[in-house]
Symmetry: C2
Subunit: 371 residues, 2 copies
């Protein structure tokens, strides 16, 4: 059976309805719904509307303040610190990105650090915002679930600590890299578990440092066992895992130590998440006012895409291409949402007492009888 | 037979002698010899005195100007562009790091971009310099040898494009990450070839995207064949190679597109290398004047080192620990140099007509009769 597909404005209206019912102010509802919807359009299904259940749980346990307003607590010509006041990360991240871009316009470079925040969706969204404004953007964030094992360690100590980097070009759309510093994100293991497929060697490690490939056992190592967990990017030490481990520590320092946010491995159970984010915007026209930077990025991206592929059917892409293709497809045909997710969202809407909009009547497609 | 070991001042004198004979100005000789010697002390044998043969080749082919003086060609309060004038990268990188730190002291953040440069040694050296000055340091550089294959590609298009990141703490020495964005650097393949050991799967790929494990074949794929080469960090697409590929592109943009340096894959054969570097310094005390940043980095590093290890004999370390241990050992016992390298250095000295200092009479140790 086909998945139902929904227009972006339907998804945005649904998200807005729920957030408003939860007490979020209109301006922040608009920001958050726009970011989450854009994320679903981009095919990053794990970070868009599917997050509402998690946000509901946080809200019910009083660890997420939907009525928070991000506050700039310190500011110089090129640096600022924002306190997200325990609210969702999206509004704070949009304020931070805008501020970093504004400072980069004036000073060439802007650094904004955010503390006391929560999940902000996909880091790449904010890096891409900077690139759309003509700036190079670098974004990192800490996270809440301690599931990444330092190289040579038996216990997880880090989170998947993502890095996003975006760079504008002249005739190409921006290069947009958005990556966890672990080999894979934990929801990839979940997908393999649902499909009953063996997990590729190098994704999950046990307390002895040996690879875990049984999907159910891998899930247990990530979500239940105190030992083992996800490997850092690179896998084990032989294949460069110490580099992914190092990048994860870099992200922790930039996101949390710089802002004063928490280190998840040391947070007492039940304490507020206090996630930290880092935003850097850099104006490439300051050092090359002739626009040579834009031409050089075009040459780089064009050359990479023209690399002869190992499989003639699968051209070489650059970061940002897959998400852009998703946006083109989903803008035209709608965002497909699985029935299991729709049932959960319907329940969220019921508890929030807002109309459920994601039913067959509001869908952009009709289910086909077969397939 | 034991390797001869030499004191840092002997190595520095040898490097200084050669560079001076090659026409480098005294101030830049002092800077370059200090950086190269520190690199050997830190155990990064591939990037210290062993580079002299390569520099000699570049000089003889008139692609390296030893008498160049790095020039600041553009400067704002927080950004600067340096033209290295075709000289060695070390003096330009030291000027750039000092300038980035100076701007960070005044503005909180400083970005310095360098073009028209050459090899600058280990990127971590400059990031660590920033950290020793109390700043967070981020350093990237392009390189000259096109040997890294984009994910899904049959040809190499990128260089090993390293990233270095250093962060000061209060009671810990700085965290210092220095990593290529490929799974391994090409000299690791050389070591396996010399030892006749099979290359671990995932380091080198052929034109069909299949792993190459025979060490001689791997060397050919890196140095002779037009197709295949090193994998980006993460290996193939399944184990996250697209992330290492993305990081390599990020480094290319920051190092070369921002400064106006070259993209090696598009450089005509025999053209000047025109390598670019990127330096960012960030003052962590601007946003947290109470010093909380330093305490948080200490807590992070202490917690990571205290992680129970999978092997009780091998404690979990953080980036920078191995190099610091090397420095302690080599400062006391000297830097060991293999005979094969000493013969090559002796020939370099002969051609430069400077005294060869790295003989048994100047060594810190005596060769043992056996072992």
């Amino acid at each position: 059976m086909d998945r139902l597909r929904f227009r972006a404005d339907t998804i945005s209206a649904q998200i807005s309805g729920v957030l408003t019912a939860w007490g979020m102010a209109p301006e922040q509802v608009a920001t958050t719904a726009a970011v989450m919807t854009h994320t679903d359009l981009s095919g990053i299904d794990s970070h868009g509307i599917s997050m509402l259940m998690s946000y509901e749980t946080l809200r019910r346990s009083e660890r997420l303040r939907l009525d928070a307003r991000p506050e700039v607590v310190r500011r110089t010509a090129a640096m600022a610190l924002i306190d997200a006041q325990g609210g969702l990360g999206h509004p704070a991240a949009v304020v931070a990105t805008d501020l970093a871009v504004e400072m980069a316009r004036a000073a060439g470079v802007g650094v904004v650090s955010v503390r006391n925040s929560h999940h902000f969706g996909a880091a790449g969204h904010y890096a891409a915002m900077a690139a759309e404004a003509g700036m190079i953007g670098l974004v990192t964030t800490s996270a809440k679930i301690v599931n990444v094992v330092p190289t040579g360690g038996a216990l997880p100590r880090l989170t998947t600590n993502p890095i996003a980097f975006a760079a504008p070009a002249r005739h190409n759309p921006p290069f947009v890299l958005d990556m966890s510093t672990s080999t894979v994100a934990s929801n990839k293991i979940k997908v393999y578990d649902l499909l009953g497929r063996p997990v590729p060697q190098g994704w999950v490690t046990d307390e002895a440092g040996d690879p875990v490939t049984d999907p159910g056992t891998a899930m247990a190592y990530i979500h239940e066992h105190l030992h083992g967990g996800l490997t850092p990017l690179g896998g084990d030490g032989v294949t460069g895992g110490h580099k992914g481990y190092g990048l994860a520590v870099m992200v922790q320092i930039l996101s949390a130590a710089l802002s004063g946010a928490d280190f998840a491995a040391r947070r007492p159970r039940g304490a507020p998440e206090d996630i930290g984010h880092f935003f850097l915007a850099l104006d490439p026209s300051v050092l090359r006012p002739d626009g040579g930077y834009l031409d050089d990025v075009d040459e780089l991206l064009d050359t990479l895409r023209a690399t002869p592929p190992v499989d003639a059917e699968v051209p070489v892409v650059v970061a940002g291409d897959p998400e852009r293709r998703h946006r083109e497809d989903r803008t035209e045909h709608g965002v497909p949402l699985p029935d299991s997710l729709l049932r959960k969202l319907e329940a969220v809407c019921g508890r929030a007492r807002v109309p459920f909009l994601l039913d067959a009547a509001h869908a952009q497609n009709r289910r086909s009888a077969t397939s």
